[in-house]
Amino acid sequence: MGATHHAREATDENLAVVDEIAAEYAGRPGSLIPILQRVQARVGYLPADVMERIAERAGVPASQVFGVASFYSQFRLKPAGKHVARVCHGTACHVQGAPALTDALCAELGVEDGETTPDGEFTVESVACVGCCSLAPVMMIEDDTFGRLTPDEARRIVRKYGK
């Protein structure tokens, strides 16, 4: 399992979150994905110990939990930054300059695409289409969507969040 030292930090609090959420789905088949989604929403990502606890509570092998968590791009096995800048790389955004946005943000924050800044403030991610194609190129930070961006504007927006 690709668990690194910082991805194995099950606290009692996190395990309690698992117990609480898993209890709600007890006896309902097909609940593994919603359980993972809700646990991640509370914990921020899916540490190895948390996945093991989910396996125990949901009554499935840990390999299956890890298999599902690593299959879907929504699930994080490593902690994300306080802010997550998701640059849309759908077709429309691509032809309207999404690669330049990613380059600008990575240069601004000093990270590679998909990485988190050492201070834990920002994660830069490329995502598949967010469905706002007519406002391309688009970036989302948390639930806010910014459209018709230039690399310069993207940089300025990120700076604002950093404050």
Partner: protein, 595 residues
């Protein structure tokens, strides 16, 4: 329909695109202006009207005056609209994009459209079941349940000629019939709202703008095939669609449109919403069902088809959002009315998402069989600026690029397939002379190889190998024989993959090779990107004749590659330059040359 008559009404379009463009601020500005002036005005929200290029959009209806539509409105402009239009009674003419009583330029966007699926989009409040009912909602469900048999409903669907709008185009009535005839007490109906094609946002807009229409269509399908339970499988990236859908389901349950013994019959129907977790392959029906069951979304061999063995191994029917949204209209208006639109084999209408290098990007619904040129040029307003239309990409990663020479074809299932493209789910991304077709092929392959679930070797490994070849071509390292290698890999992936993802993954490469082979050859043989898009093949220099030494390029360069004194000629250090294009975009004197 929303009540009109005596009260002035202001409607703000609050869909994801509208909100991204600032519509929520516009809404609050209206709230405070109206409150501050103590005006008797009805302020409402609606979904996406389709004019995404004009967001945020505001409609003002004065009693007896007809609807006037403002486009591109900011919160700062709200004061003047309230003052002059709502209070003074005179519209702010220069901000209007559309008016019911006279023809404004954007009328062209609407005049070719036939809005059956989008019948309520942009007019009703998607969070109000009352407005849906006022617009005729749930009458079709009542009609089906109280005056038709399941076989009647299936016969109507067959007669309407509706074909699946998710891309494959399988006749909907036939699909329902198969699920109905499958033996079994327990059956399921499923909405595929895992709209994953980059460049497609039809389903998001329908769910955000008119969620009840899909729910009603699903309930009718449940009645027809004998399913008492339905699932919506929605992309996780669509939080607003999920929220509005959940509101719609709760309201419908409260009013007795969902639940036990509907309309006094013995038909009961319940629904669940499942959020996807970010896997493109889950748009494939067997993968989607695996995902609902909580497993990795990997396709399996068909047959058995879902109609025989689907969710939890029970007979199941899966259609996409747009297909279901058509159903209430067809039941209410009759199959003949629907089949009156379209061509011999492609009936009705199709919703397209226009995006890319197009003047009026947004959501349009046109009759099947309309000319591709009409959609792009007349409805969409063509390519903006001085650029030339090069191609339109249809069908996302499974589709292909249609070049200028096929611009006059009709938009129907059969005609599109002849070009090597497909109808797909309805994304149309327009490309101009600044778009490199090799880069586009690489873009799609990068997407599909990333999204391949890994089950079939040719899809898993073959797409990776194709991507590597495309990458080296774009980086100026292309070799003789690369084109032939791409064709060979493409053919083998098509024939050796289990599901639609693999079978269609090479399409973007194969169609660009078919129509834009010269661009591939220019990259490989001359190390040149004709569209000036592939960075490693470009050089940025400053024309000493044109440079005025304004220092702007130096200021915008993120890597410090530009140097030069104020009022002196600037130069670019080729070692440092990342070809980010910032200097060229900033230069006011066209002094930055790209070759």
């Amino acid at each position: 329909m929303a009540e009109t008559g005596t009260l002035a009404q202001v409607t703000v379009g609050l869909s994801s695109c509208g909100i991204a463009a600032g519509a929520a601020d516009v809404m609050s500005a209206f709230e405070s202006e109206i409150a501050a002036r103590n005006l008797d005005v009805r302020l409402r929200r609606t979904g996406c009207v389709g004019m995404c290029y004009s967001e945020p959009i505001v409609d003002v209806d004065l009693p007896g005056e007809g609807r006037q539509t403002y486009g591109g409105i900011t919160a700062e402009q709200v004061g003047r609209i309230v003052e002059e239009h709502l209070v003074g009674g005179t519209p702010v003419e220069e901000w209007l994009v559309r008016a019911e009583d006279r023809e404004l330029p954007d009328e062209a966007y609407y005049s070719r459209q036939v809005r059956l699926v989008l019948r309520n989009a942009g007019t009703i409040d998607p969070e109000s079941i009352d407005e849906y009912i006022e617009a005729g909602g749930y009458a079709a469900l009542e009609k089906a349940l109280t005056s038709m048999t399941p076989n009647d409903v299936i016969a109507v669907m067959k007669e309407s000629g509706l074909r699946g709008r998710g891309g494959a185009g399988f006749p909907t009535g036939v699909k329902w019939d198969l699920a109905k005839k499958s033996p079994g007490e327990k059956k399921y109906v499923i909405v595929n709202a895992d709209e994953g094609d980059p460049g497609a946002f039809m389903d998001r807009s329908i769910l955000e703008g008119d969620p009840h229409s899909v729910l009603e269509g699903l309930a009718i399908a449940g009645f027809a095939i004998g399913a008492d339970e339905g699932y919506f499988y929605v992309r996780a990236e669509y939080p607003l669609a999920v929220k509005r859908l959940e509101i719609a389901i709760a309201d419908a349950r409260e009013r007795g449109f969902i639940g036990d013994g509907l309309f006094g019959t013995d038909f009961s129907f319940d629904v669940h919403v499942k959020e996807g977790a970010g896997a493109f392959v889950c748009g494939e029906e067997t993968a989607l069902m695996a995902s609902i069951e909580g497993r990795r979304g990997m396709p399996r061999i068909r047959p058995p088809y879902p109609a025989v063995e689907g969710l939890w191994r029970k007979p199941s029917n899966i259609n996409n959002v747009e297909t279901y949204a058509n159903v209430p209209w067809i039941i209410a208006n009759g199959p003949e009315a629907y089949a009156a639109y379209g061509t011999e084999t492609s009936k009705g209408t199709k919703v397209f998402a226009l995006a890319g290098k197009i003047a009026r990007g947004g959501l349009v619904e046109v009759p099947m069989g309309i000319g591709l040129r009409e959609v792009i040029d007349e409805v969409g307003g063509g390519v903006p600026g001085d650029h030339e239309f090069k191609a339109v990409q249809l069908g996302g990663p499974s589709g292909g690029c249609i070049p200028r020479e096929h611009f006059d074809i009709a938009v129907d299932y059969e005609s599109l397939v002849k070009t090597g493209a497909i109808m797909g789910s309805g994304g149309m991304v327009v490309m101009d002379d600044t778009t490199c077709m090799v880069d586009i092929a690489r873009f799609f392959l990068n997407f599909t190889q990333d999204e391949s679930c890994g089950k079939c070797t040719f899809c898993r490994v073959g797409t990776k190998r194709m991507l590597e070849v495309l990458e080296r071509i774009c980086e100026g390292e292309g070799r003789e024989g690369d084109i032939e290698l791409l064709e060979e890999l493409g053919d083998k992936i098509v024939s050796s993959s289990l599901c639609g993802l693999g079978q269609s993954a090479p399409n973007p490469v194969l169609t660009t090779l078919r129509y834009f082979r010269d661009e591939y050859e220019a990259h490989i043989n001359e190390k040149r990107c004709p569209a000036h898009a592939c960075k490693p093949l470009l050089t940025y220099t400053i024309d000493p004749e044109a440079c005025t030494g304004c220092t702007l390029c130096d200021k915008v360069c993120p890597v410090g590659a530009v140097s030069g004194e104020r009022k002196g000629i600037h130069t670019i250090d080729q070692e440092l330059c990342t070809k980010c294009d910032a200097c060229r975009a900033a230069c006011k004197f066209d002094a930055v040359i790209v070759e």
